[in-house]
Amino acid sequence: MNRSLRPLAATAVIFILAYAAAAFQFPTLVSTRVLGNFLTDNAFLGITAVGMTFVILSGGIDLSVGAVIGFTGVFVAVMISWGGYHPAVAFAIALAVSAAFGAAMGAAIHWLKVPSFIVTLAGMFLARGAASVISADSIPINHEIYDWISQAYWKMPGGGRLSMIGGVMVLVFVLGALLAHRTRFGANVYALGGNAHSAELMGVPIGRTTILIYTLSSTLAGLSGIVFSLYTQAGYSLSAVGVELDAIGAVVIGGTLLTGGYGFVAGTFIGVMLMGLVQTYIIFDGTLSSWWTKIVIGVLLFMFILLQRLVFRAQAARA
C-alpha cells in the first residue's frame, strides 16, 4: 500500500472501531439524528480544518485561524446588529477581509522568508486584538435571515436533520478534496511540502502558491467564523480560542504528515468526526468530565504521530 494511505487507513479503522464500541454501549448513537447533530456541531471546526490541511500539506502551519474565527464573528455581528447591513453584505465583506489577511500573511512568509509559525502567531495576536478592540463583549445577532439559515435543514432518511451549516461543511470538504487532488494548485501544494527547493527548480510558482494557501486557510477560517456566528447567534471576540490547535489535531489524526507532503482532505474529515465522536461519547456517558475529551484526543494524537513515524521509518529503511 502507498505509505501515505496507511495513516489514513489507520484513522478509518480506529474510527470504525470506536464508533462500533460506542454504539454497542449507547445504541441510540446509531441514528441519522445523532449524525446530523454531529455535522452541525463540528461544522466550524471542519471548515477550518480543510484550510489547515492545505497549509500543513505544504509544510507550514497556520496559528491564526481561531483568532480569525473570533474576529469574523465580531465583525459580522457589528455590521449586522450595529451597522444594519444585510447579512449577505456582511458575509461578503468579512470573507474579503479574511482573504486579504491570509494573503498578507502568505506574502510575508514568502517574501520575508519568515517561518509560517512566526507570521501566523503574529497574525493570531493581531486578529484577536482587533476583535477585542471592536468589542470586548458578546454582540447578539437578531436577523430573520439568521433565524432562517439556522433553522434550514434537509431531512435525512431516518429522521435526522442535515442543517444548512452542516451541509456547508460537507460541501467545503468535497470542494477541498477536489482542489487538493484534482487541480494543478493542489499538486503544487504537495510539491511544496515535498521539497520546496526542487519544486522551485521544477517551475512551481512558489510565491503565488504560498500566498494562495494562506489566503485559502484564512478565507475558510472566515467562513467558519460566519458559521460559528450562525451557530451561536452572536459574535464574541474570545470565541473559538484554541480552535487552531483542534484543527491541527484533526488534520494530524486524519493522517496528514505534520512535516508536509503527505495526506488527504478526506482523512481530515475522519479526523474531525473522530474528535466529534469522542465528545459525543462523553456527553452521552454523562459522568465523565468534558476534560476527558482533551485527554483522549491527546492520546490519539500521540498514537498517530507515533504511527506515522513508524510507517515512514520502515519505508526509509527499505529504500
Binding site: L178, G193, G194, G203, V204
Partner: protein, 502 residues
Amino acid sequence: MGGISMEPMLQGRGLGKVFGAHQALAGVDIDLFPGEVHALLGENGAGKSTLIKILTGAYQPDSGAVVLEGAEVAFRDPLQAQAAGIGTVYQEVNLVPNLSVAENLYLGHQPMRWGMLNKRAMHDGAREILAGYGLEIDVRAELGSFSVAVQQIVAIARAVKLSGKVLVLDEPTASLDRAEVESLFEVIAKLKARGLAVVFITHFLDQVFAIADRVTVLRNGKLVSTQAISGLSRTDVVRMMLGKDVVFAHSPVTEIGASGPALAEFKGLGRKGSVAPFDLTLHQGEVVGVAGLLGSGRTEMARLMFGVDLADTGSISLGGPLTLRSPRQAVAAGMGFCPEDRKVDGIFGELSVRENIVIALQAKLGWFKALSRDEQDDIAGRFAEALDIRAADHNMPVKLLSGGNQQKVILARWMAIDPKLLILDEPTRGIDVGAHAEIVRTINRLREDGLALLVISSELDEVVAYSSRVVVMRDRAMVAELKGADIAPQVIVQAIAAQEAP
C-alpha cells in the same frame, strides 16, 4: 554540425556572477546552436552549474545578457525558461519525492479535462514517455520509493519533455549504469536531429567524446575556450581544464600479498531480499575493490557491513566479535562509510565546511569531549588541503559549494575519524579529473598507512589502479574474488557478465 550562417539558439554574452566576495563567473560567452550537443567542462567549482543556472533563470546574472534566438531575455525563474522551451536537469535534487512518478513528470503541465487534472491521460502519457527510456515501472507509485537511477531518468525525461528548443543536463549520468547512459544518448541523438541545442555537463571524458560536437571549457569562472571536438584529444581537454598536464597514477598495485594481519572478518553476512550471505576478510594495509553493475548488491553489501541495514545472518569480528545494530556501533568499532548518494545521505547543507568535516569525529569522541575551535579549524584545514576542497572560506555553508567539492567534504569527514576500516561507495562520482587522481592517490596513501579499505566503484580502470583484491557482485551475491594478475579490466568484465541471462 555545420552552422556557418546559422543563428545561435541560446547565447550567453559576458555573463558574470558574484557570490559575496567570490567571483564565481566572469565574462563568459557561450553560443548554443540548433542541432548541436555542447559539452561544458571544467574542474569542480569552475562555474559550470552557475553558468547554466543563469541561462535557465535559476540565478540572475550580475553582468552580461542571455539571448534567445536573437532577442535578449531576462528569465526571472526556471518557470519562464521552461515556458520559452528550455528544459533543465539541475545537478542537485530535481524532483519531489512525495509525488508519484507521473505527477513529477507532468507537474505544472498536467493534462486537464473539464478544469480538473486528467489522471488517466497523465498515467498513460507517463508510461509511454518512460517506455522510451526502457523503463517500465508503476508510474502511480511514489517517486521516492525508486532508486536514484530511476529518479534521475525521470528527471531527464521531464526535462526532455519540456525542452522545445534547448535541453540542459548538469551531470545527468552520475548515477546511471552503462545501459541507461546508452539509452540517454539515443534520446539526445534524436533531439539533436530534431534541431534542439543540448548542453551536457559531465566529468566522464569518454561520454564527452562519444556525443559532443563542441566543448566549452571553464576554469575558475572564466572561459578558457570553445572548440569543435573533432580537433581535440583527451589530453588537450584535460590540459584546458586544469591549465596543466596530469599524470594518471595508474601503476597497478604489485606488492600485494604483503598486506598485514586480518583486521575484520565478515562471515556469512546476509540479509533476505538484499544480499545473499557472503564471506569477506579484510587485512590491514589492503584495498578491496568491489565491482558489479548498479543494482548488483554492491551498495547493499556496504550498508550491511556498516550496520545501516541489519543483517539477518552471519557474524562480524573486528578486534573481537561485533554485533551491529546501528552505524554508531560501527563507528565506535573503527569503521567509516562514505555513502553513494551524498546528495541525500551525507551532506548537512546548512552547516559549514568545517562542521561537516569534524562532525563524525566529534560524534565518535562523544559530545563531552568537545573539539576546540582551533582544533576544528586545524583538522578542517588539513583535510581541505589534502583533498583540494575549494571553498572561499571553511565557515561557509556546505550547500554553497559546487557539487564535486561537497563530495570531497564528506570524504574528508570520514578520513578525519582516523578509521581502521573505511568503506567508500563510488568515491569519485562527480569529481573532476584532477581531484580524481588525487582521490586515487589518497586511497593508496591510506592503504600504506595500514588502513583496510573497501572501495565500490563502477570505473574499472580505477578499481584496477588501487585494489589489492577485487570482489565481484552479481544479482545480489558475491560471485568472484580476483587476485594478482586477474585484477584487470577484461577479467572483471568477464566476471560481471559471466552466465548472465541473455
